[in-house]
């Protein structure tokens, strides 16, 4: 998450970063979010119904969704910065 938070400002206005938390209480999640996402470039919520909508049972799971709502990529686990940027470049190219 810190890696994503560091990258997010570079795609400001092109890609929306949304972190949907689950499996924890709001206070603990808020405290952790302040620690992991200090840039303020990422949005976050605590909503397990979204987990269910996307059939997510573990974490971290990431979905790369294009501007026209197509899931361009999805994966479980971590990726390095280069891979994340490559995916974000693809997403940014869909912004039209």
């Amino acid at each position: 998450m810190p890696v994503i938070d560091a990258i997010a400002p570079d795609y400001e206005g092109e890609v929306t970063f949304l972190a949907v938390a689950g499996r924890a209480g709001l206070d603990a999640t808020a405290a952790r979010a302040a620690e992991l996402m200090p840039s303020g470039s990422m949005l976050w919520s605590l909503d397990e119904s979204v987990w269910e909508s996307y059939d997510v049972f573990g974490q971290p799971v990431t979905f790369a969704i294009s501007a026209d709502k197509v899931i361009v990529d999805q994966w479980f686990g971590l990726r390095d910065e280069g891979q994340i940027r490559a995916t974000l470049d693809i997403l940014a190219s869909t912004a039209g």
């Binding site: 890609v15 949304l18 999640t29 909503d47």
Partner: protein, 162 residues
């Protein structure tokens, strides 16, 4: 005619008339002995040659057998790749034709490619990838995020504080 007085007479003339002198006889014996020795050696060689030929033939047979086995092995090695290569050759084009977008996608995601490849990849993915489920969630600041109404790409991460 005294042959001893004409020791310097050419051999041909002497042999025709009186026979070889003793020194010449000895020389001839010596030469004959040498020839016998040589002949004996030659005979030995002649005797050995067939043995060498036999050995050589055996070696040639072994070499031929080895070469045959080697050729068979090489032929087998060639045959195996041919059988494996042939499907690969027939599969590869079809795979590249049918699943080219997926292959390009992986390559593109693993390393940054040029814009053309990215565009092609994205278009291919759009054609095959599922549509993201729409949802509305309340963000930490109290605002609403409507996925269905959002008009930008979304990098959506599911996470937990632990």
């Amino acid at each position: 005619m005294d042959s001893s007085d004409r020791g310097l007479v050419p051999q041909e003339s002497r042999s025709n008339s009186e026979g070889p002198p003793q020194a010449l006889q000895q020389l001839r014996v010596t030469a004959a002995g040498a020839l016998v020795k040589i002949f004996g050696t030659t005979e030995q060689i002649v005797t050995i040659v067939p043995n060498l030929g036999y050995i050589a033939r055996m070696r040639i047979r072994l070499l031929a057998l080895s070469l045959t086995l080697l050729a068979a092995a090489c032929g087998g090695a060639d045959a195996v790749p041919e059988t494996t290569r042939a499907p690969a050759a027939t599969t590869a084009p079809s795979a590249s034709e049918t699943s080219a977008p997926a292959t390009e996608t992986t390559a593109t995601q693993d390393s940054t490619e040029n814009a053309d490849t990215t565009t092609t990849t994205t278009e291919a993915l759009r054609a095959e990838a599922p549509i993201a489920p729409a949802f509305v969630t309340t963000l930490s600041d109290g605002s609403q995020f409507d996925m269905g109404a959002h008009d930008r790409p979304v990098y959506l991460v599911f996470w937990a504080e632990w």
